[in-house]
């Protein structure tokens, strides 16, 4: 892919210490934010930044100190927000030919987004997802809540989410994040009702459920997914 600079954004923060002030500015490749109802405040759910060792380490420390970040990017207005308490960080690095030092990569997720993993915080009714593909949404919800569903119901399930206004798109950089509202009991009742009304059909053949391969927002060549709004 070419012209990546047009897709990447910036993450910036200033740290004031006793006798020095450090301003750190790193490249941002993915970001998910959630504005509040009043539209003025917002919260970060995902940042993925790239840079040198010292810069990325500074961002890591700032994430754990719940510091405010200034985020900007294409189609992404300038916001000052933080990841909140108990954010999780994943660090990595990769070498590039012709460069002496590897590029450091940091992915930081908020506690709420981290709770969408398999079987965590199943009583919550908010699920933030990094992609809006119908099969991806159904798969992630089924992983979190243990929903007995099959991939062919994905389009019907997305229509149900839209019809019941349980899905909302979130501002994102390099991805199309959504917020799904609903509990396990609610989703189970929808599936149950869909089966009874004949809107979805039970698969004819017994056997394991096979989910298609989904690369999420890292697949550059896939078609643009639907808009939840």
């Amino acid at each position: 892919m070419k012209n990546a600079h047009e897709r990447f954004g910036w993450l910036e923060f200033t740290r004031v210490m006793k006798d020095t002030t450090a301003r750190v500015r790193v490249r941002l490749d993915r970001c998910i934010a959630e504005p509040t109802e009043n539209g003025r405040d917002a919260k970060l759910h995902l940042v993925s930044v790239l840079g040198g060792e010292s810069d990325v380490s500074a961002v890591w420390a700032a994430v754990h100190q719940n510091q405010l970040f200034k985020v900007e990017g294409p189609d992404f207005w300038v916001l000052e927000l933080s990841l909140g308490e108990k954010a999780e960080c994943y660090r990595g690095s990769f070498s590039l030919p012709g460069r002496r030092r590897p590029v450091r990569h940091l992915v930081a997720v908020s506690a709420e987004l981290a709770a969408t993993r398999l079987g965590a915080a199943t009583e919550n009714n908010r699920t933030i997802l990094s992609d809006s593909g119908p099969v991806f949404v159904l798969y992630r919800l089924s992983e979190r809540f243990g929903l007995p569903v099959v991939p062919v119901w994905a389009d019907w399930f997305i229509c149900e989410l839209k019809r019941r206004k349980a899905i909302r798109s979130l501002p994102g950089l390099g991805c199309t994040p959504i917020l799904v509202t609903g509990t396990k009991q609610k989703f189970l009742s929808w599936v149950s009702r869909g089966l009874r009304r004949g809107q979805i059909c039970f698969p004819a053949v017994n056997g394991p459920i096979g989910w298609p391969s989904m690369t999420g927002f890292l697949d550059h060549e896939r078609p643009q997914p639907f808009s939840a709004s």
Binding site: M1, K2, N3, A4, H5, F8, R27, D29, L46, S48, E88, Y90, R91, G92, S93, F94, L96, V103, H105, L106, V107, A114, T116, R117, G119, A120, T122, F136, R140, S142, E143, F145, G146, L147, P148, V149, V150, Q185, L188, S189, V191, S192, R193, L195, R196, R197, F202, P203, V205, N206, G207, P208, I209, G210, W211, S213, M214, F217, L218, H220
Partner: protein, 217 residues
């Protein structure tokens, strides 16, 4: 328009506060009396020659973003975060070499390896096992009035069932409350579920948390 001369570091260090104040006052005085300003003539006082520059070579010393973007899917950071951000590839499936013992079946079932559509007739259902993490929070107050909060993480399993006719059931291993146990016992449940949900609680494996038998609307 104001022109100024940048001072060197030594000049700045030798500069005293009263000189700054004097120049500031002088600047204010001249700003009120434009006639006192000297007039620029067409003949320049100094002529500065701009040296001829060589050909310019533009070099990008920043991060090569195009290459980085192509390498991002293999990033170890994204690999660690895939359980939160992506949909990991489904597990390998296969046929065991020898028939499974009941113990093997139970282990595989709890791990979700036997999820899928099972049974026939009225009992044909879609089974989905789920690992559930619960955090037990205990608060203790000692004799000094200090409150100690202990958090204990527990992992258990839960079986979610969806029958072909639309009924759903959730089987968990929580100890049932009296009301729920009574309600579950009165529901018309399939024979397999009844066996698992013995009301007496003796030898109980699972509790029937919910059973939906809604009639067609």
């Amino acid at each position: 328009m104001v022109f100024a001369i940048r001072r060197s570091r030594r000049e700045r260090e030798r500069l005293q506060e009263r000189e700054i104040s004097w120049w500031r006052l002088e600047y204010g005085r001249k700003s009120r009396n434009f006639d006192a300003l000297p007039v620029l003539t067409e003949r320049p006082q100094h002529v500065y020659t701009v040296p001829e520059a060589g050909s310019i070579e533009l070099v990008h010393r920043g991060l090569p973003l195009d290459e980085i973007e192509d390498l991002l899917p293999q990033s170890p950071a994204y690999r660690q975060a895939q359980r939160v951000l992506f949909a990991p590839k489904s597990r390998e499936r296969g046929r065991p070499l020898t028939p499974l013992h009941p113990g093997h079946v139970s282990i595989l079932a709890c791990a979700g390896a036997l999820d899928g559509i099972l049974g026939e007739g009225d009992l044909r259902h879609l089974a989905r096992w789920q690992a559930v993490k619960t955090v037990l929070r205990l608060e203790e107050e000692d004799e000094n009035g200090v409150t100690v909060i202990r958090e204990k993480e527990q992992f258990s399993h839960c079986l979610n069932l969806l029958y072909a006719d639309g009924r759903t059931a959730v089987l968990t291993n929580d100890s049932p409350s009296e009301e729920k146990g009574a309600n579950a016992a009165t529901n018309p449940v399939p024979s397999q579920v009844v066996l698992a949900d013995t009301p007496s609680g003796v030898g109980r494996k699972f509790r029937l948390e919910e059973l939906r038998g809604e009639k067609r609307a």
